[in-house]
Amino acid sequence: MAFEPKIIGFLCNWCSYTGADLAGVSRIKSAPNVRIIRTMCSGRVDPAFILKAFQLGADGVIVMGCHLGDCHYQEGNYKTIRRLPFLRRLVKGFGIDPRRLRLEWVSASEGDKFALLVNEMTEEIRSLGPLKLSVHHEIQQPVAHH
C-alpha cells in the first residue's frame, strides 16, 4: 500500500481554523492527510504536543496561526514564532528532518492558502517518506507516568 503521510495540524481557532473552514465551505479540494487539532491560539501549542505527535507516529506536524500582527489575542503568535524555531532546533537534535515541522500563517480569509499548504506539506512528507523513530517500537508497552 502506498505511503499516506499522517500529518497533525495544530490550528488556531480564529484565523487558521476558520480559514480551513472556509476552504471547506468554498469546496476547495485538499489532501486529507492533515488531521486537525484546534487550539484557541497557536500560542497554546506546547512543544510537547508536537514531540508527542511524532512519538505517536505522525510523519509531520504543521502549526498554523494568524498572520503576525493579526493575532486575536494580540501577540499569541509572536510566542509561536519563537517557540517553533526553538523547538525545531530540538527536533533536529532528535534527528528528525526539520521539514517535518512547519509553521504557517493562514488567515480566516485564506481558505485557498490553507488548502495549498496542506497539499504542499503532504507532498513534501510523502517525498520524505514515513518517519521512523525507535521510540515507536518501545512504546508498545505503556509508558509509566510519575
Partner: protein, 321 residues
C-alpha cells in the same frame, strides 16, 4: 518479628547514589538496625545467585539506582522486581536515565568506534576490536553483558513502585523515605515520587525573581551574576522552573544554575520541551532573525534541556542518521 529486608542495587550510574545513602551518616546504623540488608553489591558481598535463590517478593524494599544500559542491568532489574515487594527507582538515572542517558544522543557504534578505535588514547592493533559478548578462552568461554543501543530508565524496563529523584537524592530525603517506610504508615499510591515535592526548584530558591524578558543568554562563566537575583532573569539558562523541587535549591544557592536533576515536575511529560516552551515565551524579540540570533546563544540545547531526562523524554533518543 523479623526485620524487613532491604536490597540496594547499582546499575548504570556513577555510584553517587550509593554514596548518598552513606551520607545519611550515623543514621546508616539505624538503617542497619532496622533492616536486614540482603543485597548491596557495592558494600556487602552478596552474589546474584543468593538473591535469585530467594523467594519472590521476599525483599521488602529495593532501592535501585542507575539506568539500564546493558543486559546485566536489565537482568538484575527484572530479578529485583521479582524479588521485591517495593521497587524504588532511586536517583535520576533510575528515574529518567540520568547522565548515562545522554548516550542516547548518539549510537552504540559511534561510542564504541570512538572508545575502542579512534580515541587518541586507545592503543589499537589491526584497527582495534570491539568487546565480544561471547568469547572463547583457553579456560573456557566467557560471556559478558551486552551493551544496549539505547539507555533506558528503570521504569522503561520493569514496573516501578516509587521514585526518589536526585543526582543524587539528598541524604535527608533518603532518610525521610526510609523513616516513612519504617514508620509503618500506609504506603503512598503506586508511582508516587518520594523525597521531593510537587513544586519546582524555584519554590526553594531564595533568589529574587522578576517578570521575565530576555534578550540575551549567557553561560555561567560569561558574567558575574548577582547572588540575590534569579539566574534566569540574568540570562543564565536555569532549569529550575521546569525541575521538581526537593533538593533545597542547592545549585542556585551555590550560584550555579539548576541542571534539572530532579526531573520534570508532576504534570510535565517532557522537561526539555517544556523548558523550551517557557524560555521561548520570555525571549524579548519579534523579528525572526533576531530570534534566531538569540537562540544561537544557547549552546548545546539538547544537552542543556535534556541533561538528565533524555532517556525518559517523549522521543527518548536521537534517531540514528
Amino acid at each position: 518479628m523479623a526485620k524487613p529486608k532491604l536490597g540496594l542495587y547499582w546499575a548504570a550510574s556513577c555510584g553517587g547514589c550509593e554514596i548518598a545513602v552513606l551520607d545519611i551518616h550515623e543514621k546508616i546504623l539505624d538503617v542497619a538496625a532496622a533492616f536486614d540488608i540482603v543485597f548491596w553489591p557495592v558494600a556487602l558481598d552478596f552474589k546474584y545467585s543468593d538473591v535469585r535463590a530467594m523467594e519472590d517478593k521476599s525483599i521488602d524494599l529495593c532501592l535501585f539506582n542507575g539506568s539500564i544500559r546493558n543486559s546485566e542491568n536489565a537482568e538484575i532489574a527484572h530479578m529485583m522486581r521479582a524479588k521485591s515487594k517495593v521497587l524504588v527507582a532511586f536517583g535520576s538515572c533510575a528515574l529518567e536515565g540520568g547522565i548515562p542517558g545522554l548516550a542516547n544522543l548518539t549510537t552504540k557504534d559511534a561510542i564504541w568506534n570512538y572508545v575502542y578505535k579512534e580515541s587518541p588514547s586507545t592503543v589499537t592493533k589491526n584497527g582495534g576490536t570491539y568487546p565480544q559478548t561471547h568469547s572463547m578462552m583457553p579456560e573456557g568461554s566467557i560471556d559478558i553483558p551486552e551493551m544496549w543501543e539505547t539507555v533506558k530508565s528503570l521504569d522503561q524496563v520493569v514496573d516501578v513502585d516509587y521514585y526518589v529523584p536526585g543526582c543524587p537524592p539528598q541524604p535527608e530525603q533518603i532518610w525521610g523515605v526510609i523513616e516513612y517506610i519504617l514508620s509503618g504508615k500506609p504506603l503512598p499510591a503506586k508511582g508516587a515520587v518520594l523525597g521531593a515535592t510537587d513544586k519546582t526548584c524555584c519554590d526553594e530558591c531564595l533568589r529574587e525573581r522578576k517578570e521575565k524578558k530576555l534578550k540575551k543568554f549567557f553561560r555561567p562563566f560569561e558574567i558575574q551574576t548577582d547572588p540575590n537575583e534569579c539566574l534566569l532573569d540574568q540570562g543564565i539558562v536555569c532549569m529550575g522552573p521546569a525541575t521538581r523541587s526537593g533538593c533545597g535549591a542547592l545549585c542556585t544557592k551555590a550560584n550555579v544554575p539548576c541542571r534539572g536533576c530532579y526531573g520534570p515536575p508532576p504534570n510535565v511529560t517532557d522537561q526539555g520541551a517544556k523548558m523550551v516552551s517557557a524560555l521561548s515565551s520570555i525571549i524579548d524579540a519579534q523579528d525572526p532573525q533576531e530570534i534566531e540570533s538569540i537562540l544561537d546563544q544557547i549552546v548545546d540545547p539538547m544537552g542543556t534541556f535534556y541533561r538528565f531526562s533524555l532517556a525518559h523524554s517523549i522521543l527518548r533518543r536521537v534517531e540514528k542518521s
